[in-house]
Every structure is written in structure tokens, then in C-alpha cells.
Point group: D2
Chain length 338, copies 4
Amino acid sequence: MRTKINIAVIGAGRIGRLHAEHLAYRIGGARLVAITDLRKEAAEECAANLGVPQAFQDHRRVLDDPEVQAVVICSSTDTHASLIADAAAAGKHIFCEKPIALDLAQIDSALDTVAAAGVKLQVGFNRRFDPNFRRIWALVREGTIGETHLLRIASRDPAPPPIDYIKVSGGIFLDMMIHDFDMARYLIDDEVRELYAVGGVRVDPKIGKAGDIDTAVVTLKFANGCFGTIDNSRQAVYGYDQRAEVFGAKGMVSTENNTPNRSRLSTSEGVREDLPLYFFMERYTESYLNEMNAFIECIIEEKDPPVTGQDARVPVVMGKAAGLSYEQNRPVTLSEIS
Amino acid sequence: MRTKINIAVIGAGRIGRLHAEHLAYRIGGARLVAITDLRKEAAEECAANLGVPQAFQDHRRVLDDPEVQAVVICSSTDTHASLIADAAAAGKHIFCEKPIALDLAQIDSALDTVAAAGVKLQVGFNRRFDPNFRRIWALVREGTIGETHLLRIASRDPAPPPIDYIKVSGGIFLDMMIHDFDMARYLIDDEVRELYAVGGVRVDPKIGKAGDIDTAVVTLKFANGCFGTIDNSRQAVYGYDQRAEVFGAKGMVSTENNTPNRSRLSTSEGVREDLPLYFFMERYTESYLNEMNAFIECIIEEKDPPVTGQDARVPVVMGKAAGLSYEQNRPVTLSEIS
Amino acid sequence: MRTKINIAVIGAGRIGRLHAEHLAYRIGGARLVAITDLRKEAAEECAANLGVPQAFQDHRRVLDDPEVQAVVICSSTDTHASLIADAAAAGKHIFCEKPIALDLAQIDSALDTVAAAGVKLQVGFNRRFDPNFRRIWALVREGTIGETHLLRIASRDPAPPPIDYIKVSGGIFLDMMIHDFDMARYLIDDEVRELYAVGGVRVDPKIGKAGDIDTAVVTLKFANGCFGTIDNSRQAVYGYDQRAEVFGAKGMVSTENNTPNRSRLSTSEGVREDLPLYFFMERYTESYLNEMNAFIECIIEEKDPPVTGQDARVPVVMGKAAGLSYEQNRPVTLSEIS
Amino acid sequence: MRTKINIAVIGAGRIGRLHAEHLAYRIGGARLVAITDLRKEAAEECAANLGVPQAFQDHRRVLDDPEVQAVVICSSTDTHASLIADAAAAGKHIFCEKPIALDLAQIDSALDTVAAAGVKLQVGFNRRFDPNFRRIWALVREGTIGETHLLRIASRDPAPPPIDYIKVSGGIFLDMMIHDFDMARYLIDDEVRELYAVGGVRVDPKIGKAGDIDTAVVTLKFANGCFGTIDNSRQAVYGYDQRAEVFGAKGMVSTENNTPNRSRLSTSEGVREDLPLYFFMERYTESYLNEMNAFIECIIEEKDPPVTGQDARVPVVMGKAAGLSYEQNRPVTLSEIS
């Protein structure tokens, strides 16, 4: 008989519902036993749809349940650090959506609790599990392209979020580019030592009025001597643009965007392919499933999680360094921050 | 509260298990209530894995159950026609894997029963639901490429089936090209009037000894004046090759194979992309899910199924015409067969 | 000091001017010494533009000139056979545009004269020298794709020629598909034994009234067991469509159309590439230059021409076989014709 | 009768011979009347090969010849500025290979002479005439992609030059990236205000010992608010990598590398395309021809040259700014240099 991990999802918003569906139906090693949400009806509706036996308003109900072995934290960002601490203290393994917090002291405190409790913590940098980026990573790791010299990441959203979200987002470097900071570390398999950020308001003046920028380019210097660039835009009118390229001593690997089909239409106007998949729910479906499978597998097989607490911390440091670099228009070393 | 159709799967082989998994977990409008298989352990194991309440050896158990509204027939081909008749007589809606039978009289008899019973019948030409081919179909239907002039289908398996299978398969035209005959009718949205088949043993002499060929090309004349070609090979060493192209008065649309990722690796050896997805379970995952969703939807919304009994019959006629054409090395009209 | 072949061009029409320009400027081993044309001003204008010393109305002037070592015949098709005979009798090496004639007896007579005179004859099947098709040929020849099983050629013009041209063209199989018959033999490096042709009027009813068809598909059986299809259309609205694909035991090679640039434009409408190069003067520029270089080289190095008289004859046989097959709607063996 | 410009080429090295061949044969508006080179045999051999009437050791011979209307300066870089001054003083129109000089005072002095003489000066930034980059430029200019937000240029040589060349090259920013600085200004159609350079020795330690770096990334801030990155490597093992991408408010346009053919080979190993054209002589053949045609046209039609003296000056300023930025690891404004 196959081992099944009893697991609960905390937070029944969009991403919580996605993870819940995967855990209910598509991940053989998991048994989804409860869903919680501060809005109890949300938890109940989600549980009913998926045939999950329990729904609670209070997450303590699952932390106090000795049958629950692991939790998936999908609540709002400001609750992540304390929920991690609570869950670790209760001896639960933890999958937490990124970021843990935007405050480094809070992150460190949460990670300390996890270490003390000896539970597993995996953070939701799902893009690492996308087949395109995973292919680059594998080719770099196995040495196919040799020592890495150059990295390029293009990461552009199809449309900006609401201005109210922008105001509380922490800014483009911590809200949007944080994913790319993680990707850069992942693909090069090395740490960044210094970075330099430029940017501006090119998409929507309202974003500027809200105190943020919507277009940014960051240059990275890695410890191993590789150089990288990341560009972000809050609005690519052709859809979600998610590409990366690594150039090394023995070759180069790059990825194209995923499209809904592989058709090519030739008319008197030109040869046309369909647009990239629109946004992260479409593009990264497979990666969300893969990351959760990996989490369950690391519990069952008692392995280290593939995305650690340290992996959660460093991109926050990089985001803060990028913010400082942008403000002062100078290169900033990561050691200035952490 | 959402309507759910109570459904049972008959046959727990590879394709039966696939449909069962989709019905159990991924199709909101269905409730999978039972699985049957002549090998009772197979039915029981599948039911246990998916949390399905009932498993039977005898398919009569589900036909006799008034709660069951629909069945999915995934048993061996020689049982399809009689199971359709039984299920129709029992008032169940029917999804049946292709082909219904290789004998036209059996097909006609089964279709008569379905018509008499007034139940819905959908046949498993799943490739119609593949996003690539669906895109071609849509562009043809909406007139984007104008009147159709030329069709090309390449359909090549990664490796031949076992020789024992070849012997009972009905031959390449009825076993393999039957999918492409359906695709041809689907993409051009018209009927073939005449065809001409050539072929030979190019892959494995054992296939020739078993009385079949492994490589074939068929030319089609459609009623609307379009011409088409289909080529089949039992072995494409680079994987499952499934492409189509339609050329018309206003343009041309073609599709590439699906790949596991969109990476491009440039080394001193060349620029390399990954091979196509290996075989139908990988390539057509999405189409299997889509076809079952469409079946459930046509029951709930009381619509006609998107793939009808007639759609099941015609490709068999075409396969027989192709066999005759190949034997006699002459063009054969479909009216000679049906 | 580099050897230079003294050469004259007969016929200063579009293709004659193209060859003359190449011979005057871009082919190191040739010295273009004269141009002739029945319209003397055409010859003179061309000679003046290119700085060629002599221009004549009468091609005998170059055949009688002992300094002239080779001629390039670009006059109208009906003059090719007699010009070949005259040039051969005068001891000149001959490059002749295709076809030599549409009458096999005329071709054979011309080839006999060439053989008796011991001069070299190369026929203008320029597409063999296109880098795309040459790449396929090389991969087939070096065994990279193994024994050949399937061939597909798509060959579609951007727009039909004038109806007056259609009337005297010899029909689609001898006027247009003749290039593809040559390509088929070239790519598979083998002879066709039998073929089957279908076709119709899909582009313009005027073509039908002129006694021709504008859309055709031919199935080929090669002596080595390979099967092939060729499709032709007189009008691809997206431009000149010239693609081929060879599938074999060890792999498959295919080619895309050439485009004026490699840009990709992504907007909210889709991802767009530019159309293929419009027609043969743009697409096959390089192949025209390459074939003439090869001709000059075979004279200087006393080698056999890469496209022989037999290569000129067989496609005419195939064109006639295709015509017969189309008329009688049955497969025709080449031995019925030649 | 067509106007022809009498022109002379100064310097019969690799690039001089290329321009001479184009002027002799492929540019209708030019008559190549003389070639000069300090090595007289080089001039004579080139003239003999191309049928050019005069060859000289001393460039004064062509400057003193009143029949000569224009000169093409292809001698070594250190002679460019004085040759421009001499030619301008002699009233000749001037095409000069880039760069004019690495010293800004020398450039300014040369440009002053040109202005005073009222002759035309075009500088050899040939890549602007490449069909790929020209396509991007046109789409930006016509507003198809809207206001520009982001620019990415990848520019990587297939192999480093000899170390002896590296030592006198002026360094990667002035020798190699200078082309990309020009390209950046061209594609965005705007000026850079500030840049930031990083780089290192990743390819060959000998380059480091020679006082240069071989890998570099520069971030650009344009006056119009666009941001750009350029990356350079002295060694891309897969060949000459020359791509650009511009992202704007209404879309994105990018270009792929040119390849010798458009074949795709599918075997059990993967799907393979051929490598990019190896180096600038292959990749930019067409652009060299186009730029010279443009120069001749601007003389005949009395238009302004498409690449001006200012276009020659600014990339040198940018190269110096990049060098300073790299040395001091800080952003540098162009106004600090010029």
C-alpha cells in the first residue's frame, strides 16, 4: 500500500485552490484532509468542490490535529512568517508560498524555528519546476554548455496589477523580479555578489504616482565570474513573456515561450504563430504540480526540499539590494544588505 | 449545485485507466461510480487507486444500475459493437473507444440500436481535441484560409507494435491510418469520394511476413474538390510524428510536433531542440481530457456529440477502400465499399 | 594565371540576363565574350550594361567563333533542341535552360548529337543547387537518415502565369511539376518507376478553359521502395512555397522556406514572421549562381556535368506519365512512356 | 545613360578587396577606376583580378586625379583620420571604414575638414544595412511596436582575434562593442545618456594578460527613457551570434541568426538545425553591398549619407565611457567624455 501524507491547505484564494486541487486529485502521495480560510465560506466551498472532508476558519484546527503531517501556506504574505513558526512548532512539514516575508529579521526568525523543529520547509518558487527552465538548469549542471559566462532573463507580465496592489506590493524588485532573482541563482547554480539596477515608469504613470516603477533592468555579477541581466516590464501586450538564456564556454541554451498550440498560419499578411500562454496560471500549471509533487516526495523519502529557506531569503536580499541600487544609481554588493 | 453525470468505465486497461482518472478527478461534471473489467482484480485496483466506490467483473452490473447514466467502453475492440447495443438498450449514453468494429454490418447494427434508444454516442477519435489540430479546424471553418485545395497529414509512430498485435490489427489502414482518415474528414470538413493507396514493407520484414505493410501513402479526393495525402510509418526513430497542413485559396496552416520543452541548445555541433513527445499517451493527454469533457457536456446540455456514429463508420469504409486500392493498385471510390 | 572559359549567352530575356550578369561579374572562371538575341537591341543593351564586347542577332556568330568555348542557351524552349545540336556540332560545351524539348524524339536527337560531339551538356535544373535542397541531398547521400522511405515536396507558385502562357506551356506537369520531378530524383538519388496523378482547377476557372489544371498531387513509387508525393498549386497567396522532406530509417530532414530576414514581431495580434521570398528570381538567386559555377568548373576540370542530358530527359517522361495518369485516373509506369 | 560615379579604393586588404569587388561588379552606379595599397603588389593583384585599369602604391595619385569623384578608405585605422582630411581637401566624397580614430580630437578635426569641404562622408557601420536589423529599425520607426522600453543586443564572435591584435585593438569596448553601440543608437533612434559596464576574462587568460577583457555586459539609459543591454563575448563556440530585440508599448521584435540553410534534421538524438553563418564575411555580405549602394546613391542623388560623421563619433564616446565605467565600477554619463 502506497504511503500517503495527510496534508492541509491554509488559505483558499486563487493559489490555495490550485494547490488544493492538485493535492486532492493529482498527487498520488498526498491525502488532502482539510482546508482553512479566514473567510469560512471560502474554505467550505473549496472543500465541497474537491470532496475534502474538513473546512475550518481557524488554521489552529489543523495545526492541533496530530493526523495532519504537513501544511501548505497560501494565506496573505504578511501572515507567512508567523504561520511558518506556528506550524514548525506544531511539528508540521511546511510548504509556503513566496515570499516568507519582506523583512529579513522576520524571515530569519521563521527559519530558526523551522531549524529548531527539524521539519521540512519548501518555498514556492514554482518556476524552477517549469520544463523549460528545468532543461536549462540540467544542461548547465551536467556541463553541456561549460563554465557559465552570460545569463539573460526576460520576464514581462501581460498587464500590470491593480494600483492598490502596487501600493502594498513592496515594489517591482521585491514583488516581481524576486522570481527572476531566484531563477538566476537556480540556472547559474551560484550566488550573486553584486548588482546594479536601472528602471523607470514606461507603462503607466499611475504606477509612478503609487511610488513604484514598471520597467527595470538589473545587471548581476555572480561569484563564479558569470554576468547576467534581468529585464522586467509590467506590460507585454503580446502576453506573458518568460524566457531565459545561458551562454557558456561550450555552448548556449535558450528557451522560447510556451504557446497554446504549434500552428503556423501563412496568409498574404505574413506567417503567424499564436501568442504565448497568457499568464502564470496557464503558463506554469505544470510547474505548480511538479513543485507539490517534489514537496510530498521529499517528505515521504525523507530528503531535503529542492527549494530551501535560504532560497527564500536570498532573493529578498537581492530585491532590497536592487532597490538601493536603483535609488542611489550605483552598484550594490549583497553584503551591504544581509 | 452543479449537475454531475453518474458514469461507469468498462475495461480497466491502459486507456480505460486514463479515462477513469480523468473522470474521477478532472472532469467537474462527472461522478465516476464504477469500473468493470473481465479481470476483476484490474477493476478493483483501479477503483481503489482512484477512490471509486464500486468495481465489478460483469459489465451488466452497471448496465442494470438505474443510477448509472453513461458508460465509457474501453474493452477490447471485438466487444465494442455488442456492448454498445447492450448499453443503448439499457438507456445509457455511450462513449466508445474507436473503432466500433471492423465489420460494417456490425457497426450499422450497433448504430441502429443507438438510434432506436435515443441515447448519445460519442466515438473516441481523440485527436480532434488536440489543440494543434483543433486550431487548423477552426481556421478552416472560419474561412481564414479560404476554400481548401490541399491537405497533407504525416502520421508516424515511434516504434511498431508487437508482431502478435500486427497479426490481429486489421492491417495498417484500419489500425493506424484510420485515425488519419478521421482527421482528414475533420480538418477539411468534407467527405472523401475516392482514394488511392500505395505502400510496402520498409521498417521490418517481420511485419511483411505477418501479412501487413508498415509504410503507406494514400491520396484523397474530397467531394469539395480538395486533394489530400496521408503518409504513415510504423517507425519514426525521432519519436511520434503527428503533423498536418491545409492549404487553401487564402492561406495555409500547418502544425509542428509538440515537444517536452521549448529549449534550443547551440553547441559547436549544431542547434538542437528536443524530440517530439514520445507517443500518444504523452502527446494526446490533453485531447483525451478534452474529448471526455465534451462528452459529459453534451449529456448535461443535451447537445449532439461532437464525434458521431457516422464519424465512426466512415473511416472504416475508407480503411477498407485503401486496402482494396493497395491490393489492386488502382483508385477506389468509397461507394464501392459502403 | 587562372584559366578562363570564353563563353557566350544565347537569348537575352530575363533568365539570359541573369546568367550573363553572373558570368560577367561573379564567376571567376568565365569570360563572357558575347550575347545574342533575335531582338538585336536586347542583346546590345545587355552587353552594354555588363561591359561585354560583342552583341549579335544571329547565334551562328558565336558558334562560328573559334574563341568561344561554351554557350549558355536561354532562348525560347522550342529552339533548345536545335541550338543544342548546332552548338554540339560546332564543338561548344553547352549549358541549356530546361526543358530541352517537350518531345522525347527531339530530346534524344539532341542528346545523340552531344554524345557524338563529345562536348559537355548541363541542363538548368537550378534548384538542385539551392542550399536547402543540397543539404537534404547531402544528408541522404551520406546515409544520415538511412534508407529512404517517404518523400514530400510542396511546390507552389505565388501567382499563376498569364493565360496565354498557360496555353502553350505544355500543362502543369511539364511546365511546373517538371522541376519537382527532377527534385524527387535528385533527393532520393533513385529512379521513379510508377506514378499516379490527381488534380483540378481550384485557383482560376480561366486556367481550366485554357485546357490545363492549376492544382495537382502526384504519388511516386521509386525503384528502391521509397514512396513520394508532390503537390503543386499555381497560387499560394503567401508567396513562393518551396519545401521538401525526406523520411528514412534513421531520421527525417525537412526544409523551411527562405525569408528576407529572420525577424519575429510579437504584438497583441500574434507572433509574425515575414513571408517567404516572393518568387524564383529572389529565392533561387544563389542556386543560379552555383549551377553556373559548377558548369564552368566541369569544363575547366574536365569533369562530368552535375546535371546531365539524361537528367533532362527523365522529368519529361515523368511529366508525360503524369498527364496520362491524370487523364485516365490510373497509375502509370514510366516504361509506358519512354 | 545611367550616371556612374568614378571611385577609387584605398587599401587592398580583406575588406578593401570586398568593397572593390562590389564596386567593380555589383553596383550599377559606380565605376571602380583605381586601387591603391602601400604594398603595391596587393593593389596590382586586386586590380588585375577585377579588371580595374589602375593600381597605385600612393593614394595621392587618386586624390590628385580630377576624374576620381569618391574614395573608399580601407587602410589601417591609424591612417583614417588623415586620409579623410586629405580626401576632403581634394574634394572627394568619402566612404571610410570604422572607426575614424580612437582619439576624439582626431575625429573632430577630420569631421571639421569634411564639413569645410562640403563633401559627403559615410562611415562603415555596415550592420545597419543587414536585413534583420533593418527590419527592426523599420518597425520601430513606423511605430509598430510603440514607444521603446527595452533593448537587448547579443553580439558574440566565433573566436577571439590573435593576441597581438588584442594588444593594439583599443580594448573590447572600442574594438568590438563599438558596433553594438552604433546598433543601439540605430535601433532605438535615440541617444544614450548614461551607461554602466561590467566584464571580465572568461574565454582566454592570455587576453587578460594582454590588458583586455573578453566578456562584457553594458547597460544603457537612453534619453527617451528606454533601457538597453549589450553583451559581448569573444568566443561563441556555435559561431557568430548576432541578435537584437526591441520591446515597446505595442509589441516586441527580435531577430534570429542567419543560417546557411533552413533544414531541420530529426534523428533519435534530437532535432537539429545548422549553425549560424560563421563570421562577418559570411553573415554581413549583403550588408556590405547595401551600404556601398547607399553611399553611391547618396552621391548621385545628392542626399545625406545614411551613416554620418556624428554616427562615427558617438560610438567612440560610448566606448570610452564604457571603459571608464568598467575601471571605476560606476555608471558614467556620456557628457563626462565628450
